[in-house]
Subunit: 332 residues, 2 copies
């Protein structure tokens, strides 16, 4: 309140799902629960007694969703884990999406699609309508903006959103995303990288589809980097340069990022969701291990309701750690 | 025979699917039949009488596969068109792949996946094993080589192949693929673009997994560009610089490329397959239109067997046009 650089929350109705996500973050914090649910992540007894891995995963997902509704801003479902289980896995994928949306929560379909315009239109139909309908998708920009634009008509017709890969947190990020370009439009003193070129296109797109909360309908995937000094400077620079982009921030927990790194990519206490997958899905195993109990094999006594409670505790802890780090970085 | 720069065909057994694809091209030419089959592409009567669009597409695909087996080196199935039909569409996708492989032909799953290593492993499991098993996939390189490497273990275990997006033929290609990099490792007089950086990584990868026919297990997607002089020079440069990469060449037919453009990306009469989708799928409509007959609505009398025969004629014409253009460009 009263901070000069803080954008006042307007009272207009949300236009886009990105506005709804902003509101969800304001209410429930920054956690995005990543349902990259491999059957191996389940308590062994629960997996063993299910009719199939796909059914075990669906029951597990539902329990975790129920347990984390008030601890999470949204869910992200990584389709690769479901494709790996074949058609039955994709049925579980569809039912997981439907369950999340039925509970009134927002879901990001992590599909990282990117193809020529005609094909992109089919993909958009697949993931913004019908059995696989999600509120948001993730997209890959390699082929250019004509692979992104067909998705935009759904922003207008039904508020749909997307997060486009910009700067990710994996090691291979340095292979291409990080390469320096010859003709930067920015300050010649600072390097202008491929991800800056992607960011410039996304910033322009955001201006053309601006929501009621100060963020464009489509945002960006920006990773929380390991905690080097240079990585922190870079995160601050990305955040300050991309004021109109809402960020999907992977790399928390199992991927090594911490609350402080993620907080650098937030903005005025909002502006991004931070995804954690395995650390929440496998919270039950971490808690058992910390208590010196068996978490694998027949000696493991964990069940789905314990896993759901563990996930809930872990999500709240993560929420609080990020909130604290965000408020520290704002007052710094 | 006897040309100095021609790599002799060795008599070793094929190691990788890429070797088998080389042999298929040597036997049956360069055509890759693209089964991007939307139900709207079918003769209207056939679509109307089917129980569902997904079933209509499956029957149509099977007929076209049977009709083109000796006219095509391989098939490419664009998953987006099937995802857009939901779970039933994905069943048709799975059955189309199974049918192609059952007929002894090679199939490329056009999925353009690209994600961090853990996720890439799941995707690889999904598309190189089980219900969606294909011989090749297409991949997107944006996130870096650690998103490509998990797929490689299948090259070793079962010969699987991939085509990684390098330089595509859509307009948006100029947004990122075409951007000039600051620190090229090549001749400073010629621009070093993002797609060159991707190509360098892919060339190195090909050397590390070299097949028995002079091409690496993983190749590249390189588009046939509209026929400008600069585009032709560029195509020649790409082909000469990437001698160890087998190319998947889209952009023929409906996308505007011609046999001459595609031929520039071939090498010694092999080295690439040229994909055509709509011009083959909709050959029946083009033939009816050329004959002054109705090809839409209830007056259209086309059926699947006519569509299959049209597809066959069109595939052979395309094969011959590319062969002719390739032999002209070799003797030029």
């Amino acid at each position: 309140m009263g901070r000069m650089n803080r954008r006042p929350v307007k009272l207009e109705d949300p236009v886009y799902n990105m506005d709804r996500l902003y509101e969800a973050v304001a209410e429930r914090g920054h956690v995005c629960v990543g349902l990259d649910t491999a059957a191996e992540y389940l308590p062994p007894g629960e997996r063993a007694k299910a009719l199939s891995d796909a059914q075990a995963v669906l029951a597990f997902n539902k329990a975790l969703i129920d347990a984390t509704l008030d601890a999470a801003a949204c869910y992200k479902v990584q389709i690769a884990y479901y494709e790996a289980m074949g058609l039955e896995g994709l049925r579980t994928y569809a039912e997981t999406l439907r369950y999340i949306r039925g509970r009134g929560a927002l879901v990001i379909a992590d599909i990282k699609r990117g193809d020529i315009a005609d094909t992109a239109r089919r993909y958009a139909q697949a993931h913004f309508e019908g059995e696989f309908e999600a509120d948001f998708v993730t997209l890959s920009p390699y082929m250019g903006m004509d692979s992104i634009e067909p998705w935009l008509s759904y922003a207008e017709s039904s508020g749909k959103g997307a997060f486009v890969l910009m700067r990710t947190s994996n090691q291979g990020m340095r292979d291409f995303e990080y390469l320096e370009l010859k003709n930067g439009t920015e300050n010649p003193a600072s390097p202008y990288r491929l991800y800056d070129a992607v960011g410039d296109k996304l910033s322009a797109l955001a201006e053309s589809r601006m929501g009621s909360r100060g963020y464009g309908a489509f945002g960006a995937v920006v990773g929380a980097d390991p905690k080097s000094g240079a990585g922190r400077e870079e995160a601050r620079a990305i955040r300050s340069r991309r004021g109109n982009l809402f960020f999907l921030i992977p790399g928390y927990g199992a991927q090594g990022g911490a609350a402080e790194d993620a907080a650098l990519l937030l903005r005025d206490g909002n502006g991004g969701v931070v995804n954690a997958s395995r650390s929440i899905l496998r919270a039950w195993a971490a808690e058992l291990k910390a208590a010196g109990k068996a978490c694998e094999g027949p000696l493991c006594r964990a069940d789905t309701s314990f896993a759901a409670e563990s996930a809930r505790r872990t999500a709240f802890k993560m929420r609080d750690a990020i909130r604290k780090a965000a408020s520290t970085s704002r007052s710094a």
